[in-house]
């Protein structure tokens, strides 16, 4: 299994600012996923981040709003840009395992005022 940490665990931000969320994995992985979980809702995939290439974004998510970096095989960042209250969510990163399942980080709870 993979151990995944995220920073920060939670934050309260002002409208119009940006927040960068870090995801660290204890092993090298080719692919990482970023999900958003809005209050009381399910998880929605934002993008897939491959090391050495541009992230692939799902419909409804754009790079200008959610830029992603993947500088190496154990680390990724997701930035939530120009935030509005609608961005208040839990953001989770995950990595696939060799058994087709996914391991998730503990999540970052973001509140935008």
């Amino acid at each position: 299994s993979a151990v995944i940490s995220q920073k920060p665990s939670r934050d309260i931000c002002q409208r119009g600012t940006s927040l960068t969320i870090q995801c660290q994995v204890d092993s090298q992985v080719t692919m990482m996923f970023w999900y958003r979980q809005q209050p009381g809702q399910s998880l929605t995939l934002i993008a897939t981040a491959n090391q050495g290439s541009e992230a692939t974004y799902e419909s409804g998510f754009v790079i200008d709003k959610f830029p992603i970096s993947r500088p190496n095989l154990t680390f990724s960042t997701l930035t939530v840009s120009n935030m509005s209250p609608e961005d208040s969510s839990i953001y989770l990163c995950s990595v696939p395992s060799d058994r087709r399942q996914q391991f998730f980080g503990p999540g970052t709870r973001l509140t935008v005022l």
Binding site: T30, M31, F33, Q41, S42, L43, T44, L45, T48, N50, I90, L92, S94, P96, D98, R99, R100, Q101, Q102, F103, F104, P106, G107, R109
Partner: protein
């Protein structure tokens, strides 16, 4: 795109009793994976059980078992001898095969309450 439907927003079970959470999905694929994840108030997503579509035998993990009906596209989770620690949101999820890079499609979740 595959869709996952959980028709029970909330369920309640008494401690030591058995409860079944429902999940249906829509797909045109023949080979895929299904999962149940648990999310307690700590927010950590925890894998409960997984099922490969090519396997006819239902998966079992201790007190957790599934009823996988491939033709009906149904994947229910049975929790036996429920414990207070089972209280959480439960998400059913679908994953395509064979590309291991495919992400998960989640249902909306079922909130399980366990009463003493």
């Amino acid at each position: 795109a595959q869709t996952v439907t959980q028709s029970q927003p909330e369920m309640s079970v008494q401690e030591a009793e058995t409860v079944t959470l429902s999940c249906t999905y829509d797909t045109s694929e023949s080979d895929y994976y299904l999962f149940w994840y648990k999310q307690p108030p700590s927010r950590q997503m925890i894998l409960v059980i997984r099922q490969e579509a090519y396997k006819q035998q239902n998966a079992t993990e201790n007190r957790f078992s599934v009823n996988f009906q491939k033709a009906a596209k149904s994947f229910s989770l049975k929790i036996s001898d429920s414990q207070l620690g089972d209280a959480a949101m439960y998400f059913c999820a679908y994953r395509s095969n064979p590309n291991s890079g495919y992400a998960l499609n989640f249902g909306k979740g079922t909130s399980l309450l366990v009463t003493p």
